[in-house]
Amino acid sequence: MKQENNQPISGTDFKNYFQPSSLKEALEIRDKYRSEVKLVAGATDIFVQYNEKLHEVENWLDISRIEDLKKIEKKEKSIFIGPLVTHLEIIKSDLINKHFSALSAAALEVGSPQIRSRGTIGGNICTSSPAGDLLPPLLAYEAKFHLSSRKKSRIVESDEFFTGPKKNILKDSELLTGIEIPISDAEVYSFWKKIGRRKALVISTLTLNLVLEFENDLIKRAGLAVGSAAPVPVRLKKIEEKMLGKKLSQLDYKKIAEEVKNRISPIDDLRGTKEYREDVAADIMVNALEKIEKERVSG
């Protein structure tokens, strides 16, 4: 049987691939085409999603040439990361490694060298997969996302951004223009763990990120976030609160782990069952606290 070929004929009449070099132009195109335009940055996710049906996409907005979105900058009390910064650039950044070591560790476990060289932090955020590996660290470090449309800009908390599997609050006129993470001057310890079926190229079965800031041995701030354990990457604020103002030695690790288990809502899928994910989350939580305890003693 002959298959109908719907692909447009090759030639010079392609007006539907936009590759602006400035954010201003990109926002104008975004504003004009709204949901009719597909955003592409590193393409490592969207080209998989549209594998063999790329021709079905009518309009592409390729933001990969916007140099202003590729920077990592130190501000007075934060680090500003452009959305086009790749996973590889995150791994190589001394600035990120120094202040947000768990974000570096998470980036190092994304995909493979071929994916890390192209996939971007902005792509990871806007794809909004519950299994997005950079998302728990961003939540735990209390990142803020800068969003802009042609007319307005706004800054939102990372834990208000994700609304469901592959869903977020980004409007169809907006682009993510930056990720800002506050720098702490306290004594910071971070833990990151990814559980998957193999080491490379695996979608996480579960990820957990714990950040603890200490002042005179007391926990001054806690950031705890879990990935692949709910419809969105989740920050477990209730558990964070219970750790505040205490010494590590005053915490009952087992009890906290049990609470993590109770506060996540994973599903059964081909990467693991609900029960498995709950048990693993509890186990890694204990590991996280033990590891930070050890680091502080030796440190």
């Binding site: 392609f14 691939y17 393409a43 594998n51 071929q114």
Partner: protein
């Protein structure tokens, strides 16, 4: 739309569509069929090439993003009569069985050795972690990369001396 890019040292101009992948451009427009398509989803590494110095899965690179870039494919690394030391090492250690993954494996090895001329086994495994081989069990591929590291070391010091 027309783009121009440097492939294996030569400037090429190619007519593309917005949904042409770098992989299609290399194989179909330029006839460089040493770059293979395995999964088409960035998971197997058979389509690996080096673009602007970075290892990429060419099945996930929109051709318009390759405009102005510099690409190295397996055809640009060595020739039948003048193999690259990495290629020699793959032959000598018997690291090739069906061969489908090998162009990607060799380019991933090149990228690794360019950055880290004396990798430990664990570093080799990490460098090649985006490339899947279904024949060899990887042991001989790792031997090949180690042998290549030695050969390249020797040749570099020859040049220096």
């Amino acid at each position: 739309m027309k783009i121009s890019l440097t492939v294996n040292g030569q400037l090429r101009e190619v007519e593309i569509t917005p949904y042409t992948r770098l992989l299609d451009l290399l194989r179909e427009d330029l006839g460089l069929t040493g770059t293979k398509e395995g999964c088409g989803k960035g998971e197997c590494g058979a389509c690996t090439v080096i673009m602007d110095g970075e290892l990429v899965a060419s099945c996930l690179v929109p051709a318009p993003q390759a405009d102005g870039s510099e690409v190295l494919t397996i055809e640009g690394l060595g020739s039948r009569d003048n193999l690259h030391p990495i290629q020699e090492s793959f032959v000598e250690t018997g690291a090739v069985q069906c061969g489908f993954c090998i162009p990607g494996m060799i380019l991933a090895s090149k990228k690794l050795l360019d950055e880290n001329p004396h990798p430990a086994e664990e570093e080799i495994r990490l460098g090649l972690s985006g490339n899947i081989c279904r024949c060899t069990g990887y042991a001989k591929i790792i031997d090949a990369v180690m042998m290549a590291a030695e050969k390249m070391d020797g040749r570099e010091s020859d040049q220096d001396g």
